[in-house]
């Protein structure tokens, strides 16, 4: 075990030496890998923030039921009772048309318009809170309520949440596609770096073999080289995403404030950064493995 650890320590040291010996190449490779990884990592951060925003906004999705203007009070009460007694309804708030009119009149821009009308243009309405807030459960409720007598219109207040949900699903797929694409890119960059390293170290490899180096001894530093390149690229990506998030935080908060949202862009959590480094290291290792399998196979 001690010997095994010593061999790995030695291989890691050799890989670090080789990286340090070619500082410019190392830096350029880290930048290339970092920029490639920053796109999906940044996309993931934006998506996580958008999800958080959607969760905040859609905390209580509701269904608005509007009665016909000529609905009799008796019919309105019957509809109210039916909705209130429905198994899928968690709560109901009645909005009398007189209250709606009074509330609207308080609005400076609407008062003159409303007063010019011959009567109260607002219908009786109910705001229904469903038990199941998922769009799939709310849609049948909407259809059911629309069939009640003298119900003029039923509106799902969560319709835009569904649209946002669909957009986020699309975004998630796009981020995964980007991640897969740039992951392949990272593997390709590492493959080529290791190919060049094998060519550079050919004399050393040959001499080492002649003097009794095992395949594992020869390959190990290249594995570490690839993994370290992945990690350095991951670190660059992490810095890019974090700096971008810091720069965007104030403008995003300002826009949110203008739209009356309480929202600020969150920096990616540390665990996500560690995951990024882990994935980058694994992809670097994979690129090395493919490259040395191809170039040191004999």
């Amino acid at each position: 075990m001690k010997s095994w650890l010593a061999q790995h320590r030695q291989a890691l040291g050799l890989a670090l030496q080789r990286l340090a010996a070619n500082r410019l190449d190392t830096l350029l490779a880290a930048l290339a890998v970092g920029i490639a990884l920053a796109l999906p990592a940044g996309g993931q951060m934006l998506l996580a923030n958008a999800l958080q925003l959607a969760r905040n906004l859609s905390a209580t999705p509701q269904i608005s039921v509007f009665m016909a203007l000529d609905a009799e009070p008796k019919t309105i009460v019957e509809v109210e009772n039916k909705i209130r007694g429905h198994a899928g309804v968690a709560g109901l708030r009645r909005l009398p048309r007189s209250e709606t009119l009074a509330r609207m009149k308080k609005n400076q821009g609407l008062r003159d318009v409303i007063e010019a009308l011959p009567g109260n243009p607002f219908p009786e309405a109910f705001v229904v809170t469903p038990r199941d807030e998922s769009p799939a459960a709310m849609e049948p409720l909407r259809n059911e309520f629309a069939k009640l007598p003298k119900v003029e219109h039923v509106q799902l207040d969560s319709a835009w949440v569904s649209r946002l949900d669909a957009l986020l699903r699309l975004g998630r797929i796009a981020v995964w596609l980007l991640a897969a694409l740039f992951g392949v890119g990272l593997v390709a960059i590492t493959f080529n770096t290791i190919r060049l390293q094998v060519l550079t170290q050919r004399a050393e490899i040959e001499v080492s073999r002649l003097l009794g180096a095992t395949d594992a001894f020869i390959r190990r530093p290249f594995y570490y080289h690839g993994a370290l390149q992945g990690i350095s690229g991951g670190l660059v990506a992490w810095v890019i995403v974090s700096v971008a998030a810091l720069l965007l935080q104030a403008p995003v908060a300002e826009i949110a404030r203008l739209y009356a949202f309480d929202f600020s862009l969150e920096l990616p959590p540390v665990i996500q950064g560690l995951q990024l480094l882990g994935v980058a290291a694994a992809l670097g290792w994979l690129g090395s493995a493919l490259s040395i399998g191809r170039h040191l196979g004999d």
């Binding site: 061999q7 004399a203 050393e204 040959e206 001499v207 080492s208 003097l211 009794g212 180096a213 095992t214």
Partner: protein, 217 residues
């Protein structure tokens, strides 16, 4: 220690580099393989270290049929041999010290023990003062001594040297021979391939002469 039994080595499409070669070298011998360039001396040494495999016949080293060894077993054979290559095969981007350290690193040696062994090997060949130098800064003779130090640092019981005095002036060649004799004196079995049949004229226990791949004596 080394036994060749009807060994043939053929490089297609050419002729036989070695043709039906049989001989045996015992432990502690100082044996020499003489012959002109192209006689098959280097091929014979490569067969012993399993750099090449025989076309037919058997090559035994310490009772082990090295021609039949699996690829994974080769490193362990080579770590027990000291090899001085005809072209030295030094690493020119590593210091003298690091060149000698390489075989020890391959065998898992590290730390003070490894440093001590490297310095002992460099001391034996007279290069201790130049341990930090790069091989390019050494003379031809010093490079050959460096190759010798690297070959013996693992304390092998068999040392193979391919033209160890080639391209050296007479005095330096004499130095290299003296170092080789010193190794022999402490019990290392030596097998030296050289075109110069007068090398080791005294003290040699066996001379094998090759001509166009055939053993003459």
């Amino acid at each position: 220690m080394i036994r060749f039994e009807h060994v043939v080595k053929r490089y297609p499409p050419g002729g036989d580099a070695l043709a039906d070669v049989s001989f045996a070298i015992g432990k502690g011998e100082l044996a020499m393989i003489a012959g002109h360039s192209g006689a098959g001396k280097s091929t014979l040494l490569k067969l012993i270290s399993a750099i090449e495999r025989p076309t037919s016949g058997t090559v035994l080293v310490n009772g082990q049929n090295v021609g039949a060894l699996k690829r994974q077993a080769l490193p362990y054979l080579r770590r027990n041999l000291g090899i001085v290559f005809q072209d030295q095969k030094l690493l020119f981007d590593r210091s003298v010290f690091d060149n000698v350290m390489l075989p020890l690193a391959l065998s898992g040696f590290q730390g003070r023990e490894a440093d001590r062994r490297v310095r002992a090997a460099l001391d034996k060949v007279g290069l201790l003062a130049r341990e930090r130098a790069m091989p390019m800064a050494l003379s031809g003779g010093e490079q050959q001594k460096l190759a010798l130090a690297r070959a013996v640092v693992n304390r092998p019981n068999l040392l193979l040297a391919d033209e160890p005095t080639a391209h050296l002036d007479a005095d330096t060649a004499k130095d290299v021979c003296a170092i080789l004799r010193e190794f022999h004196r402490v019990g290392v079995t030596l097998l030296i391939a050289s075109y110069d049949a007068t090398l080791f004229a005294d003290g040699m226990t066996r001379r094998l002469t090759l001509q166009q791949g055939r053993l003459l004596s």
